[in-house]
């Protein structure tokens, strides 16, 4: 009942802004912003009116914009990172459609992370948001020479790596499963390949990626900590191009071109690693398999001036095997059909139908016996998203999202076991949202909105209800019948006040709710981790985050300094009992424990975006804790990813037209871990005694990487570049694991063993385009 009143009063307050604007006669200029050479639509391009400093709009995910202006003559200024700013004079005496085509900048002034195009970061209300410029990622050194979106975002403040060389990440104290990773709107359940060393994103196929650290607008929902919104390229609708890269352990190629010139295009991109080729060459490891491949495909078709259709798909698979004995394979499949419809010059509609499927299979073979484990999660997802450019000061966005989840937990089969058919569970996740971007004054922008998310349990498996660890009742729902529904309102607001051209302050609050949860029995992520939906015991996870920020130009406006502070409170967090076997226990809910969490921190980001030297320095000071009933004597303890200090320095320097060099330095406090505080003997074996959970620290982690990029002379068609990089320049042996064991030569003595993964990893990559 409470949320209804909430929602109602929200609508009331929304109505308030609309009265004064209608007084003057106004016309609408609308259309799209595109790249002149390739015809790719440009996302988040800024369209401003020189004569009216208060009027302006940012192009949406499909390059569409719409502006309501009073009658008059104007100079429209269109700008976007990496493009020459376009100024076009228009005479507005009727509503009209104008498309803007931007020319790529010749000068190499690419910036990897770009949140502000000129003063854009100062005027947008959005907080905790960074956009990654894919074109410039190639110059940042990465392990194995494979440029990687997920490893680059880990260099931003507030984003932490899940481990050495790992693509998994934690945002502002959240878990690795609390990031909503979207590829063309389709959720990606496992965004890593090859035990986390690679991300599922082939950077050649990606146009744009934005990470929002908890203060996302209300069209996003479903995960607590962040949204990583990745958009695939549409493909060149002017000409055919081939892009590729050849590296030491992987190669990739992509082809793009017009299906109909100016109207429709396609892109096809594939990648495969061949680390196993090296294994094959050795007598010892020749029966081992270790590779992944992925394929991105996308096509778009302009039906007419008002309708456009996009079809995109992703298919990726990992294979890992030890001879005939053991094999594990896993992968994601996603497919998206989107339909853009310009209903009127003020109303834009996108309808998406999305299918996604994540599964894994484990095969174990012991002589004559077989053993298989399978699990999968399938989603069918329908979204409608409307953008209404109400007037010069209000832009509304509203819509709904319905997802049918089919979750099949680990099921076992084989010759040696009873094939227990665990039935899958279905869940229906619905959400409605409405958000308004309100430009109150020239200085003050407010984004406010509400999302209402609902999760309905559906039939399949039996739902047990537990009280103090024992079943008190069981509910069996038929396949298509509905059980309990959880309804959660998620209010969100961000405000931005521009003090002057160089300085602005921001503040925001957001509630995020998560209805799907990842159960993992290992500290690092593993493909066999399983997802579970809400149930009668598992309640939606809730995060409330408040944050304040300050953005200013420093050092003669050559640098931009962004400072943000946040406090996050987490509810209904999930862990499991000691000794629990989450994969084989008949009902995993019998071993789960619940609790709360809190995270707070201060983030600094100093960026240099222009000149021969570009890059940034990021620093995070933070604290992340959990308090789970039944763990650590019900006291607060450090989450594993609690790292007090986290520093990243990224620098790219253009020596001349051909050579550029870059370096990355990272330093962070070691993970919070539990070391023994004593030892004893049971039945002849040494056991360790532990006190508080995660009260100790791994040794501090630090590393320097270096890379040099050589670009060959650009001829008319062919363009090639070489990248040489060295990971971990000074060979620091960062601890991957610390273990304790009896000294084999003297059992009364305990040895402490540090395992390091990579000392130096050199790599060479050749990148071409024609």
């Amino acid at each position: 009942m409470c949320y209804k009143i909430y929602f109602f009063s929200f609508f009331l307050c929304l109505g308030a802004h609309f009265t004064p604007a209608a007084a003057q006669q106004s016309f609408v200029v609308s259309g799209s912003v595109k790249d002149k050479q390739t015809g790719e639509s440009l996302i988040k391009a800024v369209v401003r009116i020189q004569e009216l400093p208060n009027a302006g709009i940012i192009s949406n995910e499909y390059g569409f914009y719409s502006l309501s202006l009073p009658k008059g003559n104007y100079s429209v200024v269109v700008s976007q990172v990496g493009y020459e700013t376009l100024v076009q004079k228009i005479k507005l005496d009727s509503s009209q459609t104008i498309h803007f085509f931007l020319q790529t900048k010749n000068v190499l002034k690419e910036v990897v992370v770009e949140s502000s195009r000129k003063n854009d970061n100062l005027t947008k209300a959005q907080m905790g948001t960074e956009t990654i410029n894919m074109a410039a990622i190639s110059k940042v050194p990465v392990i194995f020479g494979e440029k990687d979106l997920l490893k680059t975002i880990q260099l931003l403040p507030g984003v932490k790596s899940a481990g050495e060389g790992n693509s998994g990440f934690f945002v502002r104290g959240g878990g690795a499963d609390q990031n909503l990773i979207l590829l063309d709107e389709a959720p990606v359940y496992n965004a890593t390949h090859l035990l986390g060393f690679f991300s599922t994103f082939n950077s050649d196929a990606i146009k744009d990626a934005t990470i929002i650290k908890g203060n996302s607008a209300s069209q996003y929902g479903g995960r607590l900590s962040s949204v990583l919104d990745v958009k695939m390229k549409e493909g060149n609708n002017q000409d055919y191009t081939v892009n590729g890269g050849i590296g030491l352990i992987s190669s990739k190629v992509s082809i793009e071109g017009p299906l109909q010139k100016n109207k429709s295009s396609f892109i096809l991109s594939g990648r495969r690693t061949y680390a196993d080729m090296f294994l094959k060459a050795t007598e010892k490891f020749k029966d081992n398999i270790l590779y992944f491949y992925d394929l991105n495909a996308k096509a778009n078709y302009q039906i007419n001036a008002k309708n456009k259709v996009y079809i995109s798909g992703y298919f990726g698979r990992d294979e890992l095997g030890l001879g005939q004995e053991f094999g594990i394979d896993w992968g994601n499949k996603t497919g998206t059909i989107r339909w853009n419809k310009i209903i009127s010059n003020k109303l834009f509609l996108n309808t998406s139908l999305i299918y996604s499927d994540y599964n894994y299979n484990v095969k174990l073979k012991n002589g004559e016996t077989n053993f298989n484990i399978n699990s999968n999660i399938k989603d069918v997802n329908l979204k409608q998203d409307y953008t209404f450019y109400a007037n010069g000061t209000n832009t509304l966005r509203f819509g709904f999202n319905t997802i049918l989840h089919t979750i099949t937990p680990s099921t076992f089969s084989g010759t040696v076991i009873n094939s227990v058919s665990k039935e899958g569970r279905n869940g229906l996740e619905n959400a409605f949202y409405l958000t308004n971007n309100y430009r109150a004054t020239n200085q003050l922008t407010i984004d406010y909105g509400m999302r209402v998310s609902m999760y309905t349990l559906m039939g399949g498996d039996v739902y047990n209800i537990y009280e103090n660890g024992t079943v008190v009742s069981s509910i069996k729902l038929n396949k298509s019948s509905f059980g309990k529904t959880y309804i959660n309102p998620e209010p969100r607001i961000t405000t931005n006040y521009r003090i002057n051209d160089e300085t602005s302050i921001k503040a925001g609050y957001a509630r995020n709710v998560q209805h799907l949860h990842l159960l993992s029995n290992s500290v690092a992520s593993s493909p066999s981790d399983q997802w579970i939906g809400n149930s009668y015991n598992i309640k939606p996870e809730i995060a409330d985050q408040i944050s304040v920020g300050y953005v200013t130009k420093v050092f003669k406006s050559n640098f931009e300094l962004t400072t943000e502070a946040y406090y996050k409170y987490l509810q209904n967090q999930i862990d499991y009992k000691d000794g629990a076997e989450i994969n084989t226990v008949s009902d995993v809910e019998s071993v789960l424990l619940y609790g709360i969490g809190r995270a707070y921190g201060l983030e600094f980001l100093l960026k240099k975006k222009e000149g021969r030297l570009t890059g940034w320095i990021g620093y995070t000071l933070s604290k992340t804790e959990r308090k789970i009933e039944g763990i650590n004597g019900n006291n607060w303890y450090n989450a594993r990813q609690d790292r007090t200090h986290d520093i990243s320095v990224v620098g790219i320097y253009d020596l001349n037209d051909r050579w550029s060099i870059s370096g990355v330095f990272v330093y962070n406090t070691g993970d919070a871990v539990t070391y023994p505080t004593g030892k004893y003997t049971i039945q002849g074996q040494t056991l360790y005694q532990y006190a508080a959970r995660n009260a100790n620290r791994m040794p501090a982690y630090h590393r320097l990487d270096f890379s040099a990029t050589y670009e060959k002379n650009k001829t008319k068609r062919m363009h090639g570049s070489w990248n040489f990089s060295l990971y971990n320049v000074y060979g620091r042996e960062n601890a991957f694991r610390i273990s304790f064991k009896d000294d084999p030569n003297d059992p009364t003595r305990t040895q402490i063993i540090r395992t390091a993964l990579f000392k130096w990893v050199p790599s060479v990559t050749y990148q071409f385009k024609f």
């Binding site: 890992l320 871990v673 004893y680 059992p747």
Partner: protein, 264 residues
């Protein structure tokens, strides 16, 4: 599942793993009472070892607790006051371990009382041991499969102690029947430590214990933590024990069967 984790970790290590002994500043817990008691279906006497936990750097393996009163009572009402032997070791005098028997332990040290209760499961016959071979990284690996028929009722737990040429395999081998209830076991005892490879002509000794659910939880927790630390295993903590009163350790009643096999 543990096996998968191990193999994945192994893959990562194969890439470029590098181990080095280091020193760390470690905190010290207050010495805590450790109770290690077993009743078996073999002829008595049975023993309860009392000791205190020590700091990691203490070279003394067992710091015995010698001033305790230790009493075991069984389901027939026999009350056995254990006799002190030496260095914290106490010996039963009259109690007899039988399948299905229930045993209550009471330990009093410095006016502080600790209690535990356990039942001995019915014996499941260990029919034989057999050898399992598989190719791994270009060589033949061996493991041992204990052959037994799991009873039709769900909830049986087993622990195996493996010795390779008289060297104790430090792995905690515990099985339950979650997946293979009522079937003949075909699961091998994991190879365990890489330094403890089984080779042709090795003599393998296996002791099979039918254990209670509480013992299973205790040893399975230890097994899950044995790969502890980032990259493998779970966050370590003291395993869930059946001893009430704040002591570490386990009081177990289990059946014992022993067999040996030679690899050929």
């Amino acid at each position: 599942m543990k096996k998968i984790g191990c193999i994945i970790a192994l893959f990562a290590i194969i890439l470029v793993g590098c181990d080095k002994e280091i020193t760390l500043e470690l905190g010290d817990s207050k010495p805590t009472l450790v109770i290690d008691g077993s009743i078996t279906d073999l002829a008595g006497p049975y023993f309860v070892q009392l000791s205190l936990s020590t700091s990691i750097n203490n070279p003394t393996r067992i710091v015995g607790v010698n001033n305790a009163r230790v009493i075991i009572t069984d389901q027939t009402g026999i009350r056995d006051s254990l006799q002190f032997v030496s260095n914290g070791l106490y010996r039963t005098q009259k109690i007899k371990g039988v399948e299905g028997g229930t045993y209550d332990l009471e330990v009093v040290v410095d006016q502080k009382k600790y209690m535990a209760s356990t039942s001995m499961p019915k014996k499941v016959n260990l029919d034989s041991l057999r050898i399992n071979t598989f190719p791994f990284n270009g060589e033949i690996r061996y493991s041992v499969i204990p052959v037994y028929l799991d009873p039709v009722t769900l909830g049986n737990s087993y622990r195996f102690i493996q010795k390779i040429n008289d060297t104790l395999d430090p792995t905690f081998h515990v099985f339950n029947d979650n997946l293979n209830n009522g079937k003949v076991n075909q699961r091998p005892l994991r190879g365990g430590d890489l330094n403890l490879k089984i080779k042709p002509r090795d003599n393998i000794f296996v002791e099979m214990q039918c254990i209670s659910g509480a013992s299973y939880l205790y040893f399975n927790s230890l097994d899950q933590q044995s790969g502890a630390g980032p990259g493998g295993g779970t966050a370590p903590s003291n395993p869930p024990s059946n001893i009430v009163g704040g002591a570490l350790g386990i009081f177990s009643a289990h059946t014992v069967q022993r067999k040996t096999i030679t690899i050929r």
